[in-house]
Every structure is written in structure tokens, then in C-alpha cells.
């Protein structure tokens, strides 16, 4: 394993320092924490929007701090949920008196720590609401699992809820928008290679030269199924059909899509996937209102991608299409 790192123990700290140096006008670090907040926050009269989770998903989460999106993001150790005390510091720092919405991805660690943080914040009379994103259609939501994971669809939750908050929505309205996106979004991913965590320094799982993992998460966990290597078109078909099956959309439905790179896959290949994705959507009678292609929610250096489809109505189109100005997303 070769990485541009010093001591693996320092990587999150040094990354955050490097981020603040890159965006000194935009980001501020809360003293003694791994939390970044808007340099000009909290924003008067606006509901605070915070997110967070393990590191290694960059530009998620702190890359989405800014006008029209997040007010704060907590960075845990690589793939490890941030701790409850840091989360509660973040919530406090992002409250302008209008309350705070926690956007949590559905992992037990994240949920348990955010829950505790919400309790701590409530004790200081901060109004806190929480939504749990679980867009990953690869995992069946049953009594026998801890539920579907939160993956790349989370970015759309940040975006839409962020736009609603920027437009002056109150906490319950912002939360309702977040939940609407969650209900209407599905994602499925694949890994061609395992990622290598700085700490372990070796691939998390072994994958043969002719194998891929389908239904991969974003934490270097193995996928739900291992298959033979396939062509880009076959892989895209597999991912997209699974997502569409889950969403069960009506003919003529407008959607927005993300082809998300896992970190180690060239942008070139993501466009190849997008080409097939759009073709399939057309065959299903769906209309693409907007499509994003790039690295939005990564898994360190993992090669692979995920396909996200979100059914949009007029409200969501307005919110997802609204201006946003963050290090990682501007429109």
C-alpha cells in the first residue's frame, strides 16, 4: 500500500487542516474537534443542517458545507462514526435558534452516536430533528438486517433540505423535504476492487482479477454478491434495473440521476456508465430531468461506482435545481 499520508493516526486531522487552508473563507474548524462548520455560520434565521460520518468518503461530508447545503459536518476516523460529544458540539455550533436537522446515514454507529448527540443537544434546549437516509437497495430491509444503508442518495438529501432551509423553511418543513427525497431515492453500487484503509494498509477484502462485488456499501465492506467481471453496459444494467425495481416508478416519471465514482475509477468510465444508464431510463419510459456524474460519495481508493435514481416532482426540481455554493458542489 502506498498513500500520500504521514502517520495513519494523523490523517483525519491533517486532511481537515488542509481543507481549511484550501477554503479559509468558507470553512472553520471547531476547536479541539474534527468538526467543520460554515465560516460565516450559524446563519441568522436559518434552520441548521448538519451531517457527518466516518472519513474516507470525500468530498462527503465537509465538501458540501456552504450556501444552500450544510452548515456543519463531523468527520469521524476513517469509516468510523464520529463520537457523540463531537456531534453535539456541531449541533450547538450550527444552531441559530431555528433548530437543527441531523442528516444521518443508516449505520448503527452513526445512528447511535447521532441519537446520543441529539439527546445532549436537547438538554441544552436546542430543537433537534433527525432523518436517517437508507437509499441502498442492495440490502433488504427486514427484521434480519439492520436496515438499508445510507449511501450516495444522501447528497440529494443534503441538497434539497439545504435549499429548503436557505429558502427560509422551518425545521419541520426542512425535515419533510429530507424525508421526501429519502422516500424517492434508490442507489446501488459495485466495487471492482477493494479499498485500502490507511490503518490496515491492505485491501479490506480480496477480489480476484475476474470478480466484482455487487451491492457494495461505502465503507469497504464486501458487497452482497460476488460475480464474474462484466462489461460496463452489463454492470450498469444490473445496478439500474435493481434500483428501478425498488422504486417502481410510473411511465413518464421525471428523475434525476447520479453516476457516482467510488474514488479510484476514472471519470472517463463514469461517463461510459452514464451513457448506458440514460439509455435504460429511456427504455423504461422515464425522463431524465438532470444527471450528475462524478465522485460525490467515495470509498477511499475503491474502484467502482454507484447508480442513484431519484424521482422528482416540481417541488424537488425547484430545490435540487436551486443555487448552491460549496467546495464540492456549485450550481
Amino acid at each position: 500500500m502506498k498513500k500520500l499520508i504521514n502517520d495513519p493516526e494523523d490523517i483525519v486531522d491533517e486532511m481537515l487542516e488542509g481543507m481549511v487552508l484550501a477554503y479559509p473563507d468558507r470553512l472553520r474548524r471547531l476547536d479541539g474537534t474534527e468538526v467543520l462548520v460554515r465560516a460565516d455560520g450559524p446563519v441568522d434565521g436559518k434552520v441548521g443542517l448538519v451531517s457527518g460520518g466516518g472519513s474516507g468518503h470525500e468530498p462527503t461530508h465537509a465538501g458540501y458545507i456552504g450556501d444552500g447545503m450544510l452548515d456543519g459536518a463531523a468527520a469521524g476516523q476513517v469509516f468510523t462514526s464520529p463520537t457523540a460529544d463531537q456531534l453535539s458540539e456541531m449541533v450547538k455550533a450550527c444552531d441559530a435558534g431555528e433548530g437543527v436537522l441531523n442528516i444521518v446515514k443508516n449505520y448503527e454507529g452513526d445512528v447511535m452516536n447521532f441519537d446520543t448527540a441529539a439527546e445532549m443537544a436537547a438538554m441544552e434546549d436546542i430543537e433537534v430533528e433527525q432523518v436517517v437516509v437508507d437509499d441502498d437497495v442492495a440490502v433488504e430491509d427486514s427484521l434480519y438486517t439492520s436496515g438499508r444503508r445510507g449511501v450516495c442518495g444522501t447528497i440529494l438529501v443534503h441538497k434539497a433540505a439545504g435549499a429548503k432551509a436557505a429558502a427560509g423553511g422551518d425545521l419541520s418543513e426542512v425535515k419533510a423535504v429530507a424525508e421526501k427525497v429519502i422516500e424517492n431515492t434508490g442507489t446501488m453500487g459495485t466495487a471492482l476492487t477493494s479499498c485500502v484503509t490507511p490503518d490496515k494498509g491492505e485491501p479490506t477484502f480480496d477480489l480476484g482479477e475476474d470478480e466484482i462485488e455487487l451491492g457494495i456499501g461505502i465503507h469497504g465492506e464486501p458487497g452482497t454478491e460476488r460475480t464474474d467481471m462484466m462489461s460496463a453496459d452489463e454492470i450498469t444494467t444490473h445496478l439500474t434495473e435493481k434500483v428501478l425495481e425498488d422504486l417502481a416508478l410510473d411511465d413518464g416519471q421525471e428523475v434525476m440521476t447520479i453516476v457516482n465514482g467510488m474514488g479510484g475509477t476514472p471519470l472517463m468510465e463514469l461517463f461510459v456508465v452514464n451513457r448506458k444508464l440514460q439509455e435504460i431510463l429511456g427504455e423504461h419510459g422515464l425522463e431524465t430531468w438532470d444527471s450528475w456524474v462524478g465522485d460525490y460519495m467515495t470509498s477511499l481508493d475503491m474502484m467502482g461506482c454507484s447508480v442513484t435514481v431519484c424521482a422528482v416532482d416540481d417541488e424537488l426540481k425547484e430545490l435540487l435545481g436551486a443555487p448552491v455554493d460549496t467546495p464540492a458542489l456549485k450550481q
Binding site: 468510523t80 464520529p82 452516536n113 446520543t116 464486501p222
Partner: protein, 212 residues
């Protein structure tokens, strides 16, 4: 045990656990690689080392020391195991506040700890989590003292043996909780990292108890 001895025992235990977690760091991470996200070793090594440092040389009562250990774990471990280990230790520390560490309070502590883990995580025996090591250990400990009237150290040794069987039990079953649950049937055949670290902690508690 005198207050002084109790404090010494707790401090020795946390030191031993911290050292053990450092030693087992890559072992635990390997287990977590197979069915999780390859961070369990780093999480616990970081957390218990910080916890040991946080209470080093403390003159507090044992319940305060144990609480401090829990609080430190909460703020240093993160992930799923942070709130489970840290939160449950913190919460269970209350059982030691009146009488310190006795045979009775140690049972109360173990029960409170198990309850909190079940509460917070929602796992049950057979979910392929730390609960599978913890439950037989706590049940055996309690029964050995209360019914079989064995001395606490002997009871603890039996509890460790029970935990060992719990760890082995996690191998052939399918995960229902934690990241391993995402794997579905593919989780079968792998040993749960959290159950394993629970066993290691208990082994260090036993080694400590044997010195007193």
C-alpha cells in the same frame, strides 16, 4: 477489598485491556475486514488506550473511574462499538456507586451492562454480535455465584469459558445486526469482531482478578 485495592484492581484491569487491544489490533481489524469495514481493532486500541490514560493515577472512587472510562470510550471510539462499549460502561458504573466493587455489585454491573447493550443496539442472542459473547458470560457469572456459590474469581473463569463458546457460536450463523448484516448469508462462516473483543476484555478482567 479495600477502597484502595478496588481502585488498584480497576486501574490494572483497564491497563491490561488497553495493552491487549493494542496487541490484538490487527487481529480484530482482520476479523472486521471479512464482514465489516476493517476498523474494529483501530477503534478499540485508540479508545482503550485513551481510557487508560484518562484514569491513570486517579484517586477517585471506582464508580467514578469506571464512568470516566465509559465517557472516554464514547468520545474516542466512534462507530458502533463506541456507544455500545462506552455508553454501557458509563451507564453500568452507577451500580458501583454505593458499595464499590463487591461480588453482588459485580453481578449488578454485568447485568446492567448487558441490558444497556441490548437496549441501545437492538441485537439479541444469535444476531452475531458482541451480545453472543456477553450473554452467556453474564448468565454464567451470575448463576455461578448466586446458585453454585462459587467464589467470584472462579465464577469469572467460568464466564470467560462461556464467552469463548459464544464467540465460536458467532461463526456459523448469519448476522442480523451491524455491518455484517449487509452481507446476508455471506456473513456465515466468519467470527464476529465485537464478540471477540468482548472475550479479550473478559480475559483481562480475569487475569486481573486472579492477582487480587
Amino acid at each position: 477489598m479495600s477502597d484502595e485495592e478496588q481502585r488498584e484492581a480497576v486501574l490494572m484491569a483497564i491497563d491490561r485491556v488497553a495493552t491487549r487491544m493494542q496487541d490484538e489490533k490487527s487481529h480484530l481489524t482482520d476479523l472486521d475486514s471479512a464482514i465489516g469495514d476493517a476498523d474494529h481493532g483501530a477503534n478499540l486500541a485508540r479508545g482503550f488506550t485513551a481510557a487508560a490514560e484518562a484514569v491513570e493515577g486517579s484517586e477517585d472512587d471506582v464508580d467514578e473511574i469506571v464512568k470516566k472510562i465509559g465517557v472516554t470510550l464514547i468520545s474516542k471510539v466512534g462507530g458502533a462499538s463506541g456507544p455500545l462499549y462506552g455508553g454501557s460502561i458509563m451507564s453500568a458504573s452507577q451500580t458501583l456507586s454505593e458499595e464499590g466493587l463487591t461480588a453482588e455489585t459485580s453481578i449488578a454491573f454485568a447485568e446492567a451492562y448487558l441490558e444497556k447493550v441490548l437496549d441501545r443496539g437492538g441485537a439479541r442472542v444469535g444476531s452475531k454480535t458482541m451480545v453472543d459473547a456477553l450473554t452467556p458470560a453474564v448468565h454464567t457469572y451470575k448463576k455461578s455465584i448466586e446458585v453454585d456459590e462459587l467464589p467470584p474469581v472462579t465464577a469469572l473463569a467460568k464466564a470467560v469459558a462461556a464467552a469463548e463458546r459464544g464467540v465460536a457460536f458467532t461463526v456459523p450463523i448469519r448476522a442480523e445486526k451491524g455491518r455484517a448484516s449487509f452481507l446476508g448469508w455471506r456473513s456465515v462462516g466468519h467470527q464476529d469482531p465485537g464478540a471477540t473483543s468482548t472475550l479479550f476484555i473478559m480475559q483481562e478482567l480475569l487475569a486481573t482478578a486472579e492477582k487480587f
